[in-house]
Amino acid sequence: MTMTSTFDRPVRQYNFGTMSLLVFPATALLLAFLVLPTAVVVVLSFTDYELGMDGLRYIGLSNYSDMLADRVFWQSVRNTALYVALVVPGSIFTALAVALLIERRRALTRFYKVAFFLPVTATLVAMATVWEFILHPSIGLANHLLKVLGVDPVRFLSDPDWAIVSLAVIGIWQSIGFNMVLFLAGLSSIPKEIDEAAALDGAAGGIDRFLIVTWPLLGPTTLFVTITTAINAMRVFESVAVITQGGPNKATEVILYSIYLEAFQYFRTGYASALTVVFLLVTVSLIILQMRVADRKVHY
């Protein structure tokens, strides 16, 4: 009897005070660490505030118009876009291939998972130094390998054409592990029966089964992996800061590195805020795109 009445009690009996108390911790944390800083950045982007200076002046959209007129800004957008365009497909298809290979294995799967996941856990700043050695023009392992193959050595990090590609390779190496784990989770959620139905329907080999079962049913995973990898690639910073500092000749200047330079080297906080707002808008629109597509196309 008492149980029934507990369940039947109308919701409005919880008064406003209780509800406010219950949502207070989460709301306070969200406000303090997410909403307020974002709001401050948006407000600062309309001012000429400089770090450490007293006072600030409302200057409307001129930070934004400066940005659009800035050659370096467009250079960093192009570099970031190129970096994303290399890392996303490179990381996704390698991670998918690795996940498929690991999933088919019987023995040592745990070893391979750990091995491929290690770069994710490694500190990128330290790893960037290691990569610097590997890619060193004269003593680096990479050029040694090229020499063995009879290819002329490449100045991976100081050649403006190669620098962003080299960083992209590091980015791919670093993100494969995480994407592999996501793909493995996606693969394990594919019902075994559908694979078996495909085998009975006459799907002969790996290509057929991949095309008719694995690839389509991984759709939601692939979409998620694509968006997260793209957002992470857009946020590339450590390897640039440690290895190339945006060089040579701004060939690896990326958006986040520009923001860092403007905010913490040149102290132009207002301008850096405007850059951040633009960056945030691009990221958020990618996430919205993911949710839209996920709802419509890849869930069955």
């Binding site: 019902p191 029966e193 559908i194 078996e196 139905a197 495909a198 085998a199 009975l200 329907d201 006459g202 799907a203 002969a204 290509i207 057929d208 095309l211 008719i212 079962v213 389509p216 049913l217 759709g219 069955y300």
Partner: protein
């Protein structure tokens, strides 16, 4: 149709082990061409494993399988020309009904390059084959009454409609062997009865060799030309439904193929009765044997004189057309269930003393290992 369209299946000495634990066999099974054979048994008895071995989804640990005389023990599913319907239908969720049914035809009639997306349809001779496939898919869908659903996705279909799509995908390429793994267990009771008769008609129309796996004795009894009753990885009895019902080889078989249940009594319970004397000659050979009979083998009698058993009524199940009285009898571990006329049932009251007489010709005698003691009938006569 010619004989090539249906095929005999022969399994010899088939076993399957998982991690050192034997789950199946050794099993010997011969399925005749065009037969509707049902594998029936409780869950975990190995019936699905046997079906999957025949389908090629599992590889046998020992033994061999022949389909239409050809040894296929180690052949992949594709090479066996078998079609299967899964319990959960296993439809491709991203494909429409038409595309789902077309998959087996695409896999067989199109070459690998022709099957590739985008470029495939542009290759020479693709268009003609594709339109032929479309025609066949439409015809199959119409024959199953799902012609109007061709452009839907599986998620938009009811359970019964998905079932038909799965059937369509299996029959569209006219396989020689048709395997069904508990295909009706996800449907509601009414639809299940309807699908039973549709499946039987489908089998009659296609005349393929069909193996049907179920744990439902009603499905086994009503649909099959023969049934194989399985327990603990072995086939205990195989025969027509009537033969298995009327003449069970094993206590477990008799008990599984009984509705609502099989009555069992230790022989000593009736050793001193008239019936006991009738059976005496036999039973003396094995004093710890069990007497078993179905609810329809006993009838209520008015006085104790003609009765073989008596006990107190504890519960009466009335179904309208028939009724079952549950009677607590000394020595019997479980209440004895007797089928009674609904009219009589209405007059019975709980705790009332009920006398039962048994039809000796419908009694079975089983040894302590559960195997049937056969000469019983002669002794009774």
């Amino acid at each position: 149709m010619t004989d090539i369209d249906n095929a005999a299946i022969d399994a010899t000495g088939l076993t399957k082990q998982f991690g050192g634990h034997r789950v199946l066999g050794p099993v010997d099974l011969s399925v005749r061409p065009g037969e509707f054979l049902t594998l029936v048994g409780p869950s975990g008895c190995g019936k699905s494993t046997l079906l999957r071995l025949i389908a090629g989804l599992e590889t046998a640990s020992e033994g061999s399988i022949r389909i239409a005389g050809r040894i296929v023990t180690d052949a992949p599913p594709r090479a066996r020309d078998v079609a299967m319907v899964f319990q959960n239908y296993a439809l491709y969720p991203h494909l429409t009904v038409a595309q789902n049914i077309a998959v087996p035809l695409r896999m067989r009639r199109l070459s690998l390059p022709q099957r590739l997306p985008v470029v495939g349809p542009l290759l020479p001779r693709s268009a003609a084959t594709l339109s032929q496939i479309n025609d066949d898919v439409e015809q199959t869908a119409k024959s199953l009454g799902i012609g109007h659903l061709l452009s839907r996705k599986p998620a938009q279909l009811s359970g019964g409609q998905r079932q038909r799509v799965a059937l369509g995908r299996a029959i569209v390429r006219k396989p020689r062997v048709f395997l069904l793994d508990e295909p009706l267990s996800n449907l509601d009771a009414q639809l299940r009865v309807q699908m039973r008769s549709e499946l039987v008609q489908l089998h009659r129309r296609l005349r393929v060799t069909l193996i049907y796996v179920t744990h439902d004795q009603a499905e086994a009894m009503t649909m099959s030309s023969r049934i194989a009753v399985m327990f603990a990885g072995e086939i205990l009895q195989i025969g027509t439904p009537e033969a298995v019902y009327d003449d069970p080889d094993h206590l477990k078989v008799a008990s599984f193929i009984s509705n609502p249940g099989l009555n069992t009594l230790p022989f000593i319970a009736i050793a001193n009765t008239q019936l006991g004397c009738q059976l005496g000659a036999m039973a003396s050979a094995s004093p710890d044997c069990t007497i078993a009979f179905r609810p329809e083998a006993c009838a209520t009698v008015s006085s104790g004189e003609q009765s073989d058993l008596s006990g107190r009524l504890i519960f009466c199940e009335r179904f309208g057309a028939e009724a079952f009285a549950h009677i607590a009898v000394d020595y019997a571990e479980h209440p004895i269930i007797a089928r009674v006329e609904p009219g009589n049932a209405a007059r019975m009251s709980c705790d009332q003393l009920v006398h039962l007489s048994l039809d000796v010709s419908k009694l079975f005698l089983f040894g302590s290992d559960g195997s049937r003691l056969r000469h019983q009938r002669r002794a009774a006569a």
